[in-house]
């Protein structure tokens, strides 16, 4: 059978291509809807939050899915990045045009968040599992309290006056950048080293993988993107308030990662988009949001370990159904030719 270019590609590159395609077609669809005036105001207000959540989920997946450590402080990194980037943007409001200001603010926010990722990473290197989760959780809460009590962050009343630079295009570009970096990393020597630590840290050390170094790297890289998402968020709201970045925000990101499947970047993208859209579309259930998240997590945990469900999922996977359909079609055709 002749193989086309798509089939000749490495399996991982093929998977990644599908992920990019999903993103670009979503972007194109929104643009077309916008051009033909089919975009509701409600939906267009969700576009930037979708981008923010996708970046957050994908970057948290790097820690949870690839490194295999549970971090509950992602909202903390997001807040650090948001404040750093927004303060930068306010400072250069008059000097720089928006097209330069936002990328620079993102870079600043990302760098500062990465620095904090490194700072948190160092003491928690010796911790694993639940203990690491507790420390990162505490870190997020500490950051929030500190920010509320500082003057230059606007304190409890929040930071005002950030230029509203965040557009869907900018958010989309940031999403693609995040995906590009993290998908590439996953398919490289550094990515394999990270995954080997998840699989078996002792064996990884025995073949020359610097476990502490890679943990720090993952923590700060993940924080970098959380910082970028934070800047995007800060540039899309009129008042940046520290109370947004609480424990519930971290859990919300965690839910996206778990729902999408730990270690699956494409899953994170889709889950993040859905979790952004669904609660807004079902306002009536808004009060029960955390309850639904908790239930969804429990159901996912049960289904994720159930063999029967895995078999069912395999049987119903789009690729399988597609190949079945193709086979069926061919068979029919051959039958016609013969008969």
């Amino acid at each position: 059978m002749k193989k086309n270019l798509f089939q000749n590609m490495k399996k991982t590159s093929r998977k990644n291509l599908v992920t990019y395609l999903i993103c670009f077609s979503f972007f194109a669809a929104v643009r077309i809807m916008g051009a033909t005036d089919n975009l509701t105001r409600h939906f267009s207000s969700l576009l930037v939050p979708i981008c923010i959540n996708v970046i957050l989920a994908v970057s948290l997946n790097l820690v949870i899915g690839f490194l295999g450590e549970l971090s509950l402080g992602h909202a903390g990194f997001m807040s650090v990045g948001a404040y750093a980037g927004c303060l930068f943007a306010i400072k250069f409001k008059e000097i720089l045009p928006a097209a330069v200001r936002l990328p620079l603010a993102m870079l600043v926010g990302g760098m500062v968040a990465a620095l904090f990722g490194l700072l948190v990473g160092i003491p928690v290197l010796r911790l694993k599992g639940d203990y690491l989760a507790i420390v990162t959780l505490a870190f997020g809460e500490i950051l929030r309290s500190v920010i509320i009590n500082l003057n230059f962050t606007g304190g409890a009343s929040g930071l005002k006056g950030t230029p509203q630079d965040a557009t869907f295009t900018a958010g989309f570009a940031a999403v693609i950048l995040t995906l590009f970096v993290i998908l590439n990393l996953a398919d490289s020597k550094h990515g394999r080293a990270i995954m080997s630590l998840r699989e078996n840290a002792i064996a990884a050390s025995s073949v020359g993988i610097n476990a502490n170094g890679y943990k720090l790297m993952v923590f700060s890289l993940s924080a970098f993107f959380a910082g970028i998402a934070g800047v995007l968020y800060g540039s899309s709201v009129s008042i940046l308030s520290a109370s947004t970045f609480d424990y519930n925000k971290s859990i919300e990101i965690l839910v996206m990662v778990v729902l999408g499947g730990m270690g699956s970047i494409r899953g994170s993208v889709i889950a993040a988009a859905l979790i952004t859209i669904l609660p807004e579309s079902m306002r009536a259930l808004a009060d029960y949001r955390m309850l639904i998240y908790a239930l969804a997590l429990i159901v996912m945990m049960i289904l994720g370990t159930s063999e029967k469900f895995m078999l069912l999922r395999h049987a119903l996977s789009p690729r399988r159904l597609l190949s079945k359909a193709v086979k069926h079609f061919r068979y029919k055709k051959e039958g016609q030719n013969n008969g």
Binding site: K189, R192, A193, S206
Partner: protein
């Protein structure tokens, strides 16, 4: 080969640089470790020459795996020194001593179960792949050349055990014997000077064990490295080891050639108890 067997190496004898290749690849001097009040290994001395196959045997709980963990810096010794190719491993981490030239396999297999066979070997090649961090993030700057070279090298290594056709299988899905072989391949990928095998024949049938013996010899000859193995299968140990060190209760009770070990009354006593007759150690 009998003259290359383990003799206690004088601890102050650092071989001159011009004779560096005659220097033993691994030396342990008066090694000891305590866990709380329990002394697990005491006064352990061992010298392994270049491309020597040596065995470490002893009854269960004698401290063999603890010695491996000391040699690979999983534990830091309480007393004594380890010289790997002449360099002290004191204070080094596991990954650093691996870079210095020691690689190992594990008694209870530790593969990266959810990663493919090929990726397992490529993790072993980690420090040999010259891809910079920016190249990993962007897949530019020589990423594909380095990656292709790594693929080639990994397949070459897998081919050594005729496992190249299993490249895409998840390592955890391999049959037991292949998992053991893959662990060896992964260790070899780090290009060690000495390979430590922790019960490589565990769970293998006699014909598989025979093949393993052949493979261990091939590893020594083709990669030109030393091998130190822990094994309970006496046919394997007596069949391929040039020197054997017997451990009991954390102490070395005998050293020598297979022939010497077989007839050593202390060894027979350790394995069979006192008043033992015959010498089927």
């Amino acid at each position: 080969m009998a003259d290359r067997t383990m003799v206690p190496f004088p601890s102050n004898a650092i071989v001159p640089r011009k004779d560096a290749d005659k220097r033993p690849v691994l030396e342990a001097h008066h090694l000891g470790i305590d866990f709380g009040g329990l002394t697990a290994v005491e006064d352990f001395n061992l010298t392994i020459g270049r491309s020597e196959i040596a065995g470490l045997i002893g009854p269960n709980g004698a401290g063999k795996t603890t010695v491996f963990n000391l040699l690979t810096s999983v534990y830091q010794p309480t007393r004594g020194t380890i010289l790997l190719d002449g360099y002290d491993t004191k204070g080094k981490n596991s990954f650093q001593v691996n870079k210095m030239g020691i690689a190992r396999t594990f008694q209870n297999i530790r593969l990266f179960a959810n990663m493919s066979v090929l990726d397992n070997v490529k993790v072993g090649l980690h420090n040999k792949i010259k891809t910079s961090f920016p190249a990993s993030l962007t897949h530019f700057f020589g990423y594909s050349q380095a990656e292709k070279a790594a693929d080639r090298k990994a397949l070459e290594l897998l081919d050594f055990f005729s496992m190249a056709d299993m490249r895409d299988m998840p390592a955890g899905a391999l049959p037991y014997g292949d998992q053991r072989r893959l662990e060896i391949v992964r260790a070899l990928a780090t290009q060690p000077k000495i390979l430590l095998l922790d019960e490589p024949a565990a769970g293998m049938n006699p014909s598989e064990t025979a093949r393993l013996m052949e493979n261990i010899r091939r590893i020594r000859d083709e990669f030109d490295i030393a091998v130190l193995l822990i094994e309970h299968d006496m046919n394997l140990v007596m069949g391929i080891c040039e020197g054997i060190c017997v451990l009991n209760y954390g102490r070395v009770i005998a050293k020598g050639t297979p022939r010497q070990i077989k007839s050593n009354p202390k060894v027979i006593e350790a394995y069979l108890g006192k008043k033992a007759e015959g010498k089927n150690a």
